[in-house]
Amino acid sequence: MKIMVAIKQVPERDAQVRIDAAARWIEESGLQWALNESDAYALEEALQLKEKHGGEVVVVTAGPERVGPTVREALAKGADRAIHIDCADLGSRDALGVARLLAAALKPENPDLVLTGLQSDDLGQGQTGVIVAELLGLPHASLILHVEKTETGLTVKKELEEGWFQTIELPAPAVLTIQSGGNKLRYATLMGIKRAKTKEVRTVTAAELGVDAAPVVVLERVALPQKQKSTQMLTGTAKEAAAALVEKLKFEARVL
């Protein structure tokens, strides 16, 4: 089974974000980067499928040079090789533009299964996997927690709203977007980290893939959100703040 996993490098979850000078995106200098959370679950699902059925796990990512350590992390966890689509203008491409890059890199590989995270933790559009399926002409299912290979294709467990689930059968090859939490994530072992250094990372450029960057939808401006409520911030030592909160809850909000 040849499984390809599309991953994204995103700012680390706790990173302090600052808006850049042009107010078009965040200031990227000095940021810490990490593997997008649901992509980590997609990779985990792929590795487990490989352990059960054999085959190959190939990670694909688009981004500038800084994605290197994230790619190595995926290889250290057990992916066999990687394709890095080198492009410095990821942020100016819309969801269709990014999906076109990934689809162009995926297509010649003829994968049996394509997995990706449900959504990225930075833009949060949750569209890439679904559009990749459309561009490759493959069936898809989204918000998947568990994947089982059957004789004819795949049986997947899909998350619905409010605690409901659904089983879906679909033929392979297919594209699945993976929801966080379906598996326990593995850590890279020392041996894995060592092996990752010798694994193949093939770099291709957007131009080589023949995908231009003209977007249909443009992110024109970023801004801090307006507060929905007037929040009273309680300050002082932990003890003072705790005492002030209890006072407010008891006498102002009257909920104690």
Partner: protein, 329 residues
């Protein structure tokens, strides 16, 4: 071009609440752009749904009907709307931002060479470009807002976030009902959806809890959970959690608050070490009073909190337990 089309979803035989919100958003966009607004209902039998939509101030209600649309599939819905919009040529298409829409609307937009602006919370138009409104959606897990504009030719696709527009502002009226029959072959539906099921019987009903202490990633380790359990006990509160805590298996799934868990509306919601991703906020925004403890002053949870403490929960929570115990004696 035929103006604005709102694609509504059914729930328990009626237009879903968020579907009504999407129609209200459509009426608002119509007022802004001067375009007519219409609604489309999809399914195998759409008469009742169309009848409901026809009581709103809309130009047209279209029944996009086919036996193969009885159960939702991405292939069926994408094909049906691709054909319908090829005829109607909309300027704008509005969806409610549901799990179902997230499953097919990006593919539908891509098939038409377009890109969905998803999970929109607001829109406005500037005088320079009244026909090209700016759509706001959240970035970086709710820490930032992004302003998006559709720049190409053809329809602009958006989906609206639950709660962003008000269903009670939906304007009543009458609409002409029309029908559209897409051509769908069984072989074109590649996925086979099964019955919906719940993982296990839900044993904890957070929905009726008066007070909830909810815990998130900030707790760092399952071994630290007794700290928040003690706080919940002191407050006489139920314990809730954000998704990562249940994903990690630290608490059972039926303690999860948010879009994939339970929706709660207690008198007091105390969020401990929860940053406040939108998937969590939609599950607790009906709370009467929200208090939050987080070490990150920029955590989005503070945007929806009445009271906030920026600090280390491992210092604040023990102090809070003492203060609560003293106050409730």
């Amino acid at each position: 071009m035929s103006g604005i089309w709102v694609v509504v979803e059914e729930r328990d035989g009626r237009v879903s609440h968020i579907g009504c919100e999407a129609v209200a958003a459509g009426q608002k966009l119509a007022a802004l752009t001067g375009l007519p607004v219409n609604a489309a209902v999809l399914g195998a039998q759409t008469e009742a749904l169309a009848g409901e939509a026809a009581t709103w101030a809309l130009a047209k209600v279209a029944r996009v009907e086919h036996p193969l649309l009885a159960a939702y599939t991405a292939d069926g819905f994408t094909l049906a709307l691709e054909q319908f919009f090829a005829v109607e040529k909309p300027d704008f298409v509005i969806f409610p931002h549901t799990y179902q829409v997230r499953d097919y609307a990006p593919a539908l937009a891509a098939r038409l060479g377009q890109v969905l602006i998803g999970d929109v919370t607001a829109f406005s138009a500037d005088t320079a470009q009244p026909a090209r409104p700016v759509f706001t959606r959240q970035l970086m897990q709710g820490r930032l807002n992004g302003a998006y504009r559709h720049s190409g030719n053809g329809a602009c696709f958006i989906s609206v976030q639950a709660g962003a527009f008000r269903a009670d502002e939906l304007q009543a009226g009458t609409a002409e009902v029309c029908s559209f029959s897409p051509t769908i072959e069984p072989a074109q539906i590649r996925t086979k959806p099964g019955e919906r099921f719940r993982a296990s019987a839900q044993t904890i009903d957070l929905g009726s809890a008066q007070r909830i202490v909810s815990v998130g990633r900030g707790i760092k380790d399952a071994a630290n959970l007794p700290l928040v359990q003690e706080l919940a006990a002191a407050l006489g509160a139920e314990l809730g959690a954000s998704r990562p805590i249940c994903d990690a298996g630290w608490l059972p799934l039926d303690r999860q608050v948010g879009s994939s868990g339970q929706t709660v509306s207690p008198k007091l919601y105390l969020a401990v070490g929860i940053s406040g991703a939108i998937q969590h906020l939609v599950g607790m925004k009906g709370s009467q009073c929200v208090a939050a403890i987080n070490k990150d002053p920029g955590a989005p949870i503070f945007e929806s909190a009445d009271y906030g403490i920026v600090g280390d929960l491992f210092e604040v929570v023990p102090a809070l337990i003492e203060a609560v115990k003293a106050a409730r004696q």
